[in-house]
């Protein structure tokens, strides 16, 4: 291991509550998934790993609709977050998205297509090079990745592709929140006759042009994606821009 860890030292430095400190561990996947070691090799190769309760992944334990499983990743309790990668061990396409919280808290809500019951995890890389891993099991009847998108049935989405709607909240219990929806089929390529067609990158920047967050999205993100972000201070409009894997670009202003 390149960066030796002592769990006690981390817990002490982070002033963690005893219950959370007790849950910190370097070995032994708390979700007991048969694919964990593969996941570790694919996404976190060579770097130190810590199962960390400060990485909160919220999703329903039983998902009614495998095409639209809500996932919320909250790593705001962790200082110095550089990158977050979200993956689902048993999905045919494992990687869901990556996000880089630059001037925004490490918080992102989205929805995902799941093919079968699986752990959904977030691995959070902090500035010291350590991957902090959190996750939860989602049980679902499945089929979410190999069912055609609803858009496949109509021609309308072609005119509305990349149409953005969104809002920010400046007061109330959700002050600082930004929510955005984009019209996109997010085709996985796993449905016969329909090539993969999905959003690849979305950037959020404030009025001064300072980037709040960069998000790399992959095939498993649900059709017509909806994202929930949290800003430290809701200060003016946000510009969202991005493109899909066919080069269709969009730019939209989300007013406050």
């Amino acid at each position: 291991m390149k960066y030796p860890l002592t769990i006690a030292a981390i817990a002490l430095a982070a002033l963690m509550p005893p219950a959370e400190a007790a849950a910190l561990r370097e070995n032994g996947d708390p979700l007991a998934s048969a694919r964990w070691s593969e996941m570790q090799k694919a996404f976190l190769a060579g770097a130190p790993v810590l199962f960390d309760p400060r990485v909160k992944v919220v999703a329903p334990s039983t998902a009614e609709n495998p095409m639209q499983v809500p996932v919320t990743v909250d790593a705001t309790a962790l200082p110095g977050v550089v990158e977050v990668v979200v993956f689902a061990d048993f999905n045919p396409i494992v990687q869901v998205l990556r996000f880089f919280p630059e001037d925004a808290p490490a918080f992102l809500g989205f929805r995902v297509k799941l093919q079968q019951s699986t752990p959904v995890r977030a691995a959070v890389r902090t500035a010291d090079g350590v991957w902090h891993v959190g996750g939860t099991w989602v049980n679902t009847v499945g089929g979410g990745c190999t069912a055609p998108s609803a858009a496949g049935g109509s021609k309308e989405w072609q005119q509305r592709l990349n149409e953005v709607s969104g809002r920010q909240w400046s007061e109330g219990p959700n002050a600082g929140r930004l929510r955005m929806r984009i019209v996109h089929p997010m085709d996985t390529g796993l449905v016969a006759g329909t090539p993969a067609f999905f959003l690849e990158e979305i950037n959020f920047a404030d009025a001064a042009g300072k980037r709040l967050m960069r998000v790399q999205t992959y095939e498993p993100v649900s059709e017509n994606p909806v994202f929930t972000l949290q800003r430290t201070s809701a200060d003016g409009p946000v510009e969202a821009s991005g493109r899909d894997n066919n080069g269709n670009a969009f730019t939209a202003r989300i007013a406050q």
């Binding site: 919220v58 009614e64 809500p70 919320t72 009847v141 149409e163």
Partner: protein
């Protein structure tokens, strides 16, 4: 000793009961010559085998009219035997009130008699029937053995239907699904509401158009105000002699849509909405928590789209 033996026997019998695939269907006479099989107010499980639905039959002058056929082949067969224990008249017609699987997957047991439904219900069964059946195999297990989709062969239209010497009034509504049939038996005064009305159980919404459903409930309540009205049989839950299930269903749907709209306006994410506690009034309904979670998945995206200013 005798008592102990008795208790032991009962224990053994009780355990057998769970695996003999007997729904123990027992007809309840809700009006003269009108009977219902009342299902449990639960979700589909391997214990109840999907007996969570109300089905019914009318013993008419020249034959029996069956309303909905239950969740499986076994249910349909057992239902038919239970009907034969009440009357030796032949089955004249089976009607499916709408295209949900607990209401038509017993059709196979009636393959030798006419089965009828509204046109859109027939289309719905043809399109979604197999997927529904697959899902019930997952939830109810071996109770479903041998069950296959049997399409209704006849199309019903709203209006008067003369069958087996009985005059029925068919009211074509929608909102719970794309086509929800209400059957009014004017002879007995019984109104078969299908799943437009739930009693003492949270309503299900996988194919709901809530605005249409609320409109349908108003029309249905109008039917219960007619002079001859005697009893209402909801799709799930006990029959009543008043419109209480209609009001209960309306209250749930009204609260649910307002909750989705308000949550979306307040900036909540779907996970935030799922985590919300239910008001006490609704939380005490059987399966309220699970139906709420399912309904969030069905109804929140549209509310969210509206709150974010997206075109519908």
């Amino acid at each position: 000793m005798k008592r102990l033996l008795c208790a032991l026997l009962m224990l053994v019998a009780g355990q057998l009961g769970a695996v003999d695939f007997d729904y123990r269907l027992s007809p309840v006479e809700i009006a003269r010559d009108v009977y219902a099989f009342i299902g449990k107010t639960e979700d589909f499980t391997t214990d109840n085998g999907g007996n969570i639905v109300n089905t019914a039959f009318i013993v008419a002058a020249q034959g029996v009219i069956v309303i909905d056929s239950g969740p499986s082949l076994r249910y349909g067969q057992q239902m038919r035997r239970a009907i034969a224990a009440v009357t030796n008249k032949p089955i004249a017609l089976v009607i499916n009130t709408h295209h949900h699987p607990d209401h038509f997957l017993g059709n196979q047991a009636f393959a030798d008699v006419p089965i009828a439904a509204l046109a859109e219900t027939r289309n719905g069964i043809a399109a979604d029937g197999n997927a529904f059946a697959e899902n019930l195999f997952r939830m109810s297990g071996d109770w479903m053995k041998g069950t296959e989709v049997q399409l209704p062969g006849k199309t019903l239209n709203a209006g008067r239907l003369e069958v087996a010497g009985r005059s029925l009034r068919l009211v074509g509504l929608d909102g719970h699904t794309g086509a929800d049939l209400v059957i009014v038996d004017e002879t007995s005064g019984v109104v078969f509401a299908g799943d437009l009305a739930f009693n003492g159980r949270a309503p299900t919404t996988p194919h709901a158009d809530v605005a249409h459903w609320l409109k349908a409930l108003d029309q249905l309540e109008g039917v219960t105000r007619e002079a001859g009205f005697k009893a209402l049989l909801p799709g799930h839950g006990a029959p009543t002699s008043d419109a209480a299930p209609i009001r209960q269903t309306r209250a749930w749907l009204t609260w649910l849509t307002a909750a989705m709209r308000d949550a979306a306006k307040a900036g909540l994410d779907m996970n935030d909405v799922l985590a919300r506690p239910l008001p006490a009034e609704f939380a005490r309904l059987p399966v309220a928590a699970s139906e709420y979670r399912r309904s969030v998945g069905h109804l929140f995206p549209a509310a969210e789209q509206e709150a974010l200013g997206a075109k519908p």
